[in-house]
Amino acid sequence: MSLATGRQSESARAASAAEARYRIDVPIAPARAARVVALDDRAAQVAARLAAHRWAHAEFLRADAVGELRELGGGPLPLTAALIGADVVVVLATEDGGRDTAERIGRHCFRYGITTAGVVLGQGFEADDAVAALRPYARVLLLSADESDVFELLTALRV
């Protein structure tokens, strides 16, 4: 390129707005099979609203009172079956009730190399234990988040 113009360096020419137009434009295939797991009732309400949006592969689940996973509005699923084929799991919590489930999910994902993200909705003080249970396993913890943060996270991850 620098030879062609004779003036500008290759980097200067390549970094111009004019050259930016030539970046190959192909649609980005969603690469992530995501599971969004709500650990408690309030988190499940958020998950239900999020599930109403259009997603590529994301599936939304919730933990029930005994720590089993279920599809939103569906029957129970063993944890292993629920997370089969997933490559990212986003865990939503608003309080400590889901602590044990958080730990089980964390362990499972760690063992199977599934990237885990934890999102604490609200001020987070009520979810300290759930966060502590997830901390060793979650690649990222978003604390003091709100519903739109989860939406933005899932959108950015193209799930």
């Binding site: 970046r23 901390r135 913890l141 950015a156």
Partner: protein, 410 residues
């Protein structure tokens, strides 16, 4: 986003650019406006419209004399507030010139920086209180460089802790302002940090966690104060550094880079290293704020140094390693083509906060986070904590700027 920036005091230039009274005026472009800065006979700073109200000559050519800047074309003269003082051609010039006033903004020296506020005078906030500009002069150093890309993609590098282990790996071992800290070993030994992102009053804290000794984590905590102030977590007893990214226009920004020590003067060696462009600073072309290594010379890329492992990308210096890659994305990177990962959550959240603040300001007139000077009193920190502890709970004091106390560092 322009309106959002106009809620804040932002760096306009370095104090060294206007060293003397009645010195030459300096062109300043900020938030897509062309301005000229000068210091009048009494030492007052002025930041006014670059172009003369008469027929639009650039006041960069102005004569800075006797309490004002005089346009050399037909002699109109302005004071630091942009008020026209004299129109020589008018018989009764007092009443005519009263009505002539150039747009102007306040320009205030705090530390080594001249700050301006480009918003509505009615909502001008109190002056900024960032610690780096309030410690004694011998404890602080600030440089700036022109970066040829949108401010946001530059700023995002400041809260992106995961690139350090790769891009800056050479610098961790050799840079005089980085090397030797215990924390560097943790950094280099664990290339897959875990992240926690939490709201602060003024923006965010991004915590990056790596394995340390058994049962402990090494945490690096990066604060962001909206809109564009970030600090790098400290290393050992090295001075603490950080940045302020200021939009020049949509495709250019000023990167202000600072280093300060909260409780001791910088040593001669440290200050010289900063002047020489080590650490977060750049070596600039003398008389300018353009880095010597820039896109016009391919950043002086050295493929042999890359092969030898001295630099990871072939570009020398931490500042230019960042700038070269951020500029290579193009003047405004196309974010619709990104593939973000959970480790990018800090960036995802920061964009979200900026957008929310801009919308709340536009629709409801809500003052954004980071305007209140109380929000400026933050610090970065590097700490080793037991695994069970949350960095936010354990580091409340460490991330607060308390004058006269040392930084928390490993």
């Amino acid at each position: 986003m322009g309106e959002l920036f106009r809620q804040y005091w932002i760096p306009a230039m370095l104090a060294e650019e206007l060293p003397e009274t009645d010195g030459p005026p300096v062109r300043v472009k900020l938030l897509s406006e062309r301005l000229v800065a000068f210091r009048d006979s009494e030492g007052r700073y002025g930041l006014v419209d670059e172009f003369c109200a008469h027929r639009g000559a650039s006041l960069w050519f102005g004569r800075n004399e006797q309490g004002g800047l005089r346009c050399p074309y037909h002699g109109w003269k302005y004071d630091v507030s942009g008020q026209c003082l004299e129109v020589p051609s008018e018989a009764d010039n007092s009443s005519f010139c009263q009505n002539v006033k150039l747009t102007s903004y306040p320009l205030v020296k705090i530390g080594d920086v001249l700050w301006t506020y480009m918003g509505d005078a009615a909502t001008q906030p109190p002056l900024p209180e960032f610690e780096w500009t309030h410690v004694p002069a011998e404890q602080t150093y600030t440089s700036k460089r022109w970066q040829q890309c949108n401010w946001l993609q530059a700023f995002e590098g400041g809260i992106d802790s995961s690139h350090v282990t790769f891009l800056h790996s050479g610098g961790l071992k050799t840079d005089p302002l980085f090397k030797g800290a215990k924390g560097n070993e943790y950094n280099l030994n664990d290339t897959k940090p875990f992240f926690e992102v939490a709201d602060s009053d003024g923006g965010l804290f991004v915590g990056a966690r790596r394995n340390a000794e058994d049962g402990t984590y090494y945490w690096r905590i990066t604060p962001w104060v909206m809109p564009a102030f970030t600090m790098v977590p400290p290393r050992g007893d090295h001075p603490v550094h950080g940045h302020f990214w200021v939009p020049i226009d949509d495709e250019n920004c000023w990167t202000y880079s600072f280093d300060y020590h909260p409780v001791r003067p910088l040593t001669e060696t440290e200050r010289q290293a900063m002047v020489d462009g080590h650490g977060v600073h750049s070596k600039n072309i003398p008389g300018t704020y353009r880095p010597m290594a820039n896109m016009d010379n391919d950043y002086l890329i050295d493929r042999e140094a890359q092969k030898r492992g001295e630099t990871y990308s072939g570009v020398a210096g931490i500042a230019m390693q960042d700038a070269s890659l951020q500029e290579s994305m193009g003047p405004i990177v196309d974010r619709s083509k990104e593939r973000l990962v959970p480790a990018d959550s800090g960036i995802i959240k920061a964009r979200q906060k900026l957008r929310k603040a801009a919308v709340a300001l536009r629709d409801e007139g809500v003052t954004p986070p980071g305007v209140d000077p109380e929000h400026h009193r933050v610090r970065s920190a590097a700490v080793v904590l037991p695994q069970a502890e949350s960095f936010l709970d354990s580091c409340r004091d460490a991330v607060k700027a308390v004058p006269g106390t040392a930084q928390h560092t490993v």
